[in-house]
């Protein structure tokens, strides 16, 4: 029996169309647009001005606190402007626009493909390097990695759990990374182990990627790492669900963190980025993005520079299909629909999905028939129908009491609702308002 998390979860159609397509680079765009807020925490502060020339990998915006991250230029060229623009998040943020001129990298970055297995840095130096290189979680939550790897005093990291689950349908970026950069990920694991003092390393991979499981298991032997195949179930890539599935521990309600149950979780993409930062001195300015959709001519896994407009990626897979109704940044379960195709790839962009017109229309909303499917789909043990009703009547005290803040917004309730009620939307509204009320009370 394969392990998985026991409570809730759904199984959407996988649609991993691009799983057989190797990671490829594409031509650079003419201009990139790099937002200064690509992570959870304080936005970075620009350190370049209009007219400055920058190289690939050069620091262009500096972290402004502990929970914040540095931003580096992904191209070489001239800073065209720095202004507030609607970015991928849908909100107005300061973005740095750089006109691309050639492709000149900083000399300090090791561009050879050689594998460097020897870890010479100390734990302290590793964390400093990761912070310097602006590494954040690349799974979508974009939490700064150096914060996660700083184990607070009095806490111990027993398990380092590497997330190779990729439970979102369509996405294949992590899958390809595990196949093509297996050894680098293993070294990355060892680096994080050194930084956190973790006793054991477990890599969780869902069973729909047998080739990745085989390759990773083979490579893991040398490093003393366990690869754990997991039963396919969404949202297994959620931190809490993954910890439950792999080591059977439950993180208590927020503000508790994985470290409170002795775990640190990192995505395989972040692990690869950490390898490149520590061993190759390469900041996080490019990442693998799955560009796919049912009508897309040639779906691809593209190694894209941060700041590349989505339209540039879409052009590389054969252009926007005629029947496109919606473009999503991220996976279909948690990704955000974008309004314009000129918004950029960020550190958290795992995919660009093009949905057909017919797939972009929501089902008509009917009356709730109290079937309880949302309750059994909720991976946090909440009662989504109740939270929805409470949000509708704006009973925020009751919402807090019913633990609306526990919701991870995985979307399983909306996905499963036969009446087509956008339950997750109602809960998001409730959650945001309760958070606002709690903040104002402080």
């Amino acid at each position: 029996m394969l392990r998985t998390f026991p409570k809730g979860g759904v199984h959407p159609q996988e649609n991993k169309i691009s799983k057989g397509n190797p990671i490829e680079r594409i031509e650079l765009p003419k201009q990139v647009m790099i937002p200064i807020a690509q992570h959870i925490g304080a936005p970075a502060e620009p350190v370049v001005a209009k007219g400055d020339t920058v190289k690939v990998g050069q620091l262009i915006a500096k972290s402004t606190g502990f929970v914040s991250a540095n931003i580096h230029s992904s191209v070489s060229g001239t800073v065209a402007k720095i202004e507030k623009t609607i970015d991928t998040s849908g909100y107005k943020n300061t973005c740095i626009f750089i006109n691309v001129e050639g492709d000149e990298w900083l000399e300090t970055i090791d561009r050879t493909p050689d594998l460097k297995t020897e870890i010479t840095m100390s734990a302290e130096e590793i964390r400093a390097k990761i912070a310097e290189c602006g590494i954040v979680g690349t799974g979508g939550a974009t939490f700064p990695a150096h914060v996660k790897l700083s184990v607070p005093q009095g806490k111990k990291c027993e398990h380092l759990i590497i997330n190779g689950v990729e439970c979102e349908p369509y996405l294949t970026a992590d899958h390809r990374l595990m196949l093509e950069h297996t050894e680098e990920i293993m070294v990355g694991c060892k680096i994080i182990q050194k930084a956190t003092g973790a006793e054991k390393i477990i890599i969780g991979i869902e069973n729909n990627k047998p080739d990745a499981i085989a390759k990773m298991t083979e490579a893991a032997k040398k490093y003393g790492i366990t690869v754990m195949p997991l039963k396919v179930k969404y949202p297994q890539g959620g931190e809490k669900q993954l910890i439950k599935a792999t080591v059977n521990r439950e993180i208590p309600a927020p503000p508790a963190l994985p470290i409170d149950v002795g775990c640190v979780v990192q995505n395989v993409g972040s692990t690869f980025a950490i390898y490149e930062a520590v061993q190759k001195n390469k900041p996080l300015f490019e990442r693998v993005v799955t560009v796919t959709g049912k009508s897309v001519k040639s779906p691809k896994n593209i190694l894209a520079r941060v700041g590349t407009p989505l339209s540039h990626l879409i052009a590389a897979v054969g252009g926007l299909p005629e029947d496109t109704g919606k473009v999503v940044n991220g996976g279909p379960m948690m990704g955000k629909a974008v309004k314009s195709l000129e918004v950029p790839v960020t550190k958290g962009t795992s995919g660009v999905l093009m949905f057909k017109q017919s797939e972009s229309v929501r089902m008509e909303e009917n009356a709730c028939i109290r079937c309880g499917k949302c309750v059994s789909a909720c991976c946090m043990g909440l009662e989504p129908y109740l939270l929805k009703n409470l949000a509708k009547i704006r009973d925020f005290d009751a919402l807090k009491e019913e633990r609306v803040l526990d919701c991870i917004e995985c979307g399983s309730c909306s996905f499963t609702c036969p009446a087509g009620i956008p339950i997750t939307d109602y809960i998001r509204y409730g959650k945001a308002t309760v958070t606002k009320i709690l903040r104002s009370k402080k």
Binding site: T324, V328, S340, R362, N366, L382, D406
Partner: protein, 331 residues
Amino acid sequence: MAENRLAIAMSPHVHSNESVKKIMYSVVIALLPAFCVSVYFFGLNAIRVTLISIVACMAVEWLIQKFLLKGKTTIFDGSAIVTGMLLAFNVPANLDWWIIVIGAIVAIGIAKMTFGGLGNNPFNPAIVGRVFLLISFPSQMTTWPTPQPIWDIKALDAVTGPTPLGLLNEGQMVDYNYMDMFIGNMGGSLGEMSAIALLIGGIFLLIRKVITWHIPVAVLGTMAAFSAILWGVDPTKYADPLFHILAGGALLGAIYMATDMVTSPMTGKGMLVYGVGIGIITILIRTWGSYPEGMSFAILIMNALVPLINNWCKPKRFGEVVKPPKEEVKK
């Protein structure tokens, strides 16, 4: 330009494709085997009663939505058809048409639409309709035609006979052939007799994930356990567990009526409590009540408790500590 047509919506962007309509029509499909068996035993009468009931239920819903509420009509969402079928399955096959229509008016008009239509009714509409008829027309509702295969000439004459539970209620212990009961060759309401047909439909509903195992297992398990205790005390006075499960509306109630999504609890735990309640009340009424069958009353009584059960049986929250440490108030 295509870009101007891009839809903006919050995640998730995909859906399971399950719908209320699909669920309701699945229940209709699941009821078909039992319907076929009743046509076999009661002939055209079974078709007559079922059609009148379905058409009446849909008509009542349409009239109310169209002329009273002046809103959207939703009679093809399948819920009125399910109510109509279940109402028909719960009455004798020789019932007069106007009594069936009254049942439909009560089921849809009073038990469903008064509360706001689909999803808002606290009580199972078909059972409310059936119980109303049982109390209002006691003799018509308890005159059961005996099953006759279609080709049997005698089927045309309305031969009536007792039901197993009716006999039990009069204090008679009759040796019934369990095989006959299993197939459905016994007196009773139109669609409740054939255990095998009801089980086939039940398995279909389980596979389609329209119902879960909790309610049927809890109801039937409790009925079996409770009646086994009584039977163990005095086998000459009380019927055995198998008899209780095969007789009357036990299977129809446990698989199709108690599991009605709208009027049953939300969590597995709650469903078990609800099912156990139905099982106990059913056996209590069957054994000591004045009515021979108690399934309908049991389900209605437990329907009334569903909001409380939902409140008591909440799912265990992820990461919940059994006793949360109380924060000390610092002075």
